[in-house]
Subunit: 787 residues, 2 copies
Amino acid sequence: MGMKAIGARVQRTEDPALLSGKGRYLDDIALPGMLHAAFLRSPLAHGVIRSIDATAALDAPGVHAVLTAQDLPEMLRNTRLPVMGSSPQQTQVMTPYALAPEEVCYVGEPVAVVVADSRYLAEDAAGLIAVDYDELPAVANCRDAAQAEAPRTHNGSSSNKATRFKATIGDAAAAFATAPHVFRQDMWQHRGCGHSIECRGAVAEHDPLRGGLTLWSSTQIPHIAKHVLCDLLAMDPESVRVIAPDVGGGFGPKAVFYPEELVVAAAAMKLGRPVKWVEDRREHFLTAVQERDQYWDVEIAVDGEGRILGVRGSMLHDGGAYLPWEFSLPYIAAVTMPGPYRLPAYDLDVTVAYTNLPPASAIRGSGRPQAVFAMERLLDRVARELGIDRAELRRRNFVQPDQMPYPTGLTYRDGRAVVYDSGDYPTTQSMALELANYADFGRRQAEARAQGRHIGIGIANYVEGCGVGPYEGVSIKVLDNGKINLRSGAAPTGQGHKTMLAQICAETLNVEIEDVIVTLGDTNAIAMGVGTFASRIAANAGPSALGAAQTVKAKILSLASRLLETPEEDLVLEKGRVEARHGNRQGLSLGELARRAKGSPGVSMHRGDTPGLEHTSYFTPAQATWCNGTHVVEVEVDIATGGVKILDYVVAHDCGTVINPLIVDGQIQGGVAHGIGNALLEWMAFDPNGQPLTTNFGEYLLPSSTVVPTVRIAHLETPSPVNPLGAKGAGEGGTIPAAAAIVSAIEHALTPFDARLNMSPLTPETIIKSLKQSPNYKAALMRACAG
Amino acid sequence: MGMKAIGARVQRTEDPALLSGKGRYLDDIALPGMLHAAFLRSPLAHGVIRSIDATAALDAPGVHAVLTAQDLPEMLRNTRLPVMGSSPQQTQVMTPYALAPEEVCYVGEPVAVVVADSRYLAEDAAGLIAVDYDELPAVANCRDAAQAEAPRTHNGSSSNKATRFKATIGDAAAAFATAPHVFRQDMWQHRGCGHSIECRGAVAEHDPLRGGLTLWSSTQIPHIAKHVLCDLLAMDPESVRVIAPDVGGGFGPKAVFYPEELVVAAAAMKLGRPVKWVEDRREHFLTAVQERDQYWDVEIAVDGEGRILGVRGSMLHDGGAYLPWEFSLPYIAAVTMPGPYRLPAYDLDVTVAYTNLPPASAIRGSGRPQAVFAMERLLDRVARELGIDRAELRRRNFVQPDQMPYPTGLTYRDGRAVVYDSGDYPTTQSMALELANYADFGRRQAEARAQGRHIGIGIANYVEGCGVGPYEGVSIKVLDNGKINLRSGAAPTGQGHKTMLAQICAETLNVEIEDVIVTLGDTNAIAMGVGTFASRIAANAGPSALGAAQTVKAKILSLASRLLETPEEDLVLEKGRVEARHGNRQGLSLGELARRAKGSPGVSMHRGDTPGLEHTSYFTPAQATWCNGTHVVEVEVDIATGGVKILDYVVAHDCGTVINPLIVDGQIQGGVAHGIGNALLEWMAFDPNGQPLTTNFGEYLLPSSTVVPTVRIAHLETPSPVNPLGAKGAGEGGTIPAAAAIVSAIEHALTPFDARLNMSPLTPETIIKSLKQSPNYKAALMRACAG
């Protein structure tokens, strides 16, 4: 009787502690003698520091140090932070310094740090630092930045363009030359933030006794953070430990190693005291990475039946002041454009421009929402122009299951071909349509209209290259008490990795999930790790957990077979014991076996044995896995206010093997909430000088529980052939097509007004502006108000 | 041009820090908020605790807690400490509790602990604890204890005999029945201590933030200590870390996990503050394990040419109050008896008796000095009786090199046959004799006698089963900065393990020894470890280092070959770089390769690659390796005072492959010093009630630099076939035969008085007593005084 854990709706083992206030987040860390840091940040979007006078700040009560760039170790003074995920081409891009030594390129860029007895004293003292700046012209929009005559976003650079590249399939010019229909469309998605509940933060302690520098950071990437610390502080990797304690959300912004983490570490080493810094929400608005600003100008060529012949055009990506993940986002957007559709010809000209805005890097979806938005809006346009039902049009264009594995014809920036590994896109869409009762929507809409209500339905499909390498490792060890320890570099930020990995281990070793003790987020727990981003943990750490557990199981059975003098095939591993299947059912507990496996001091081991019941496996996927899904959303638009109410939200989702439906459903639900924010609410606003205008939750709106419906979810499972678990990724699919689906639904609701909606977020103001262009609007509004 | 490090006389990398005061020993550890512990110990060798009144102690200034057994966690209250190296038979033996709950069985047994702001305050308060004891009769000698009518050493036990077993080869009765000559001899070696420069000590800190309990202990066995802590504190092994900082000598007593380590940990957990305890010298005399008390009554049967036909008799071993390593010592003694000699028949009847003395466990040599003493004294007796030169007699009896591997016919307690793996005993002895100019000694002796001086020469041979399993592991990793990190569970206590392991790694990877950063003595450094005892590190961790380095080298070359597009055979790994042997000599540094080997976040790895340039190897020897040696010592005895002066000390030594002659020579020199103490000085004295009489270095004499000569050393290397390095062990060979050789030399010096010396230590008093039995003594003394 085997324990069936993979695929089971297992309650998250993380939750009891977190829900009862026993979580240990970064700000819960209090070390003896700990000091507190506050950063002095640039008030200008662009300027040059002429001088810094810290005299008054140093005299302020409780202040231990004021550090500027000049006070940092030499290497930190002169070295920009490395890019996180550099391409094999090792392009040169702008990244920040730990503290700006001379030039500041966005509002909020760290200029100095005050270390004091409390955060209050540190902030007060920071206000006493006098910095003399030469203000320089700032560029607050990538379209402006891309102009040749634009002021330079970084002093002395020859252009604001960070790169320009092409993504191509086939011969787009030829396809467009002969196409029966071509439709062109501008599209834009605006910048927003990640806004994890917990902001960023770091505590550093330098203590040679425990082996050196320990940095606790609210990060998604402890192992990468460690590498950067070692490089920039010139430390032996063995004397640096990074711990991500409980982390209250990541969503991408915490997959960047930030100047503040480095400065806090350097300050702790310099002062010989632990130093803590916790980002406040205003700092998060100013300095955590942001994403989405892309301008697309694309056209689609189709035949008379709406079959896609080609897509071409250009895309302009806002890189912000720095590019911590280099060109990852625009590349991802470019290769995501084809989506689940056969695209015989494609020619996208991508430009990345620096601006004097906060650095741009991945936020849940990471370039994909923009590409999906572009493609899905184009398809809606085609459907409207040719009078084809939107679902039917998509159906006609799907890559078919029997075409898998399907090379799209694109290559990624690492030079590898983009190949969809598995999936059944037509079935996924059918499931979503059925669950949403799409066939009946015409009736519902007619009924609503008769009541003066404007409802609409939207569809969007996506594929997502997720589960990217290079690897993630898992160590599994049977402990002396019979419990199983599992360690991995897969640092969680709330996804339930502990539960998911425990399930794989528990099923393989046929133990209770509670008996698997999972240690994550600590660079001391496993030699190597990458981190949590790109929906990569299930497809990287998952197979590693499987591989490690299988090897440990083989060791268990081999040892038990010898000790019990019973062939392996006659043994049962069950409930933490190995027993002989027949006879007297003599057996040994896993704890006893673990002790025996360690051998006895001074006694030789059985020839060929290796000690211990443990194994570490690093699974290295040969390529990304490609999950997919269909979102169908039903909305009602209040044409008087422009308010949008989501009536129903359906997701059909294929992330390969579903290890825990509860977790996947949670990811989808949360992802959709994120997507609703993107579609309707979240707008990070700046004035023309690059001054942020929305720096609190009164000005920047997040979707609340009254806005976000319970998402209804259907799963299809087409296991990935890329890894033995068949797992893909589930972290971002809730977000990626949401804006496309919601805007589609709004447009559909506003069909009587022939609204054309090609941006997000779509605020009430924008909707009203669009409605006002319709000759039908005034009369409809009168009817609605009367009714 | 390969780096030749193995076998080189490399300066110890440990020494610059240690010699310049930068060592970090246990007592150097100071943690914020740390409290200090002092133990209240039993003043009786045997008694029952009626009541403990801690009121006054609790009221004393600075006292935070007074803990007795009743105040410990339940598991600690009721569980005796485990045996360290239990035999597969899992015999039940007496071990101590953390704190004596009821019965005390030796003077010094911990009864309570006071935790206070300082050690002074803690000791003062400990003096205020009132314990009401019922005194019970104590047994202070194992010969008394073995008597049926003796008082019981432990209340309620049916006998003081812990075990009785036999070691046999062939048919001893038959051999003795027909032997031309049989000689019988009583022998005795007395109890002494280990006396590392640094006493024991422990600091415990319980901090969930850093993952739980950290115990710093001046121990030889951090991994075993961790297992015991987990078991007895019911802790998840992942939340316990044991660190052995710099340790000032071990010699065996620190290969035991002691009650104090456990109590300090429990106190730190209970109080939520770090707690430190450092053993003072008096405590070390009372409570650190002691060794050597064995009574041998054996006879040897030889033919007319002095060839050994058999040995038989009995041995009584003093176990002290507890047996932390079970019967390890008497078993080792029993199988060591045959030594390098062919022994066709053997029958030793071994009894282990408890006494009310400090627990007995291994001190450098661990049972072997006693067995070698017994055999070598018997051979000297045969030589004298049959008029054969002592060296010649031994030569006639050696196992020959062409008999290797040589099963002695004995089995060890794990049921495995005792098999000598390699060695050339005749050559080893010849080398020693030559170096000592043995052939000329007769002339020197005659010359001295003519001057009224009494000089003698002694010879002793030994073999030592060392390098025992079960394993020791080594992890090797190339760091991003190109340096190599090596980690192992092989905790050093001054042997130079870091240098030795770095040599193996450096030679294999062809880097400088300084570029190998070695981390030892930390259970977080490597998943599994055993510890340092039984001269086992070179033969266990050594081959692991070799294996791990070889695998890492293969990874380096494979990766470099692909990146440099050059076949592996055309690559040179040299000076931390891999370069193409031909052409432009393009290359990559180890640091660059390490970075490339980690892969790039989000980028798939080359198919088949595993990330990182690292490997962990656990070498598991199939059996012990058997090193051997010959000691030849020349002494002068002052017949007026009984004083002995060592004129020359020669060791010929075969420990297989010599990895670092400087280190091996140091081990031999130190070991001989230890042996000189055993032979002449160290006498741990007790009164008949078990009260220790020698509890400081005024009463208990250690060999000082004026006593210990510079040992002259010759090496023979017969590599062991048990491991690929060919290494055996070198830590104890300096000690094992020393007492036998020195007593032989003294007896030889005193030939004119026909002295019969069959015990150690041989104090001046004993020598004089022996001399006084000689009719020649008075006259000789007169002549000497006159001269």
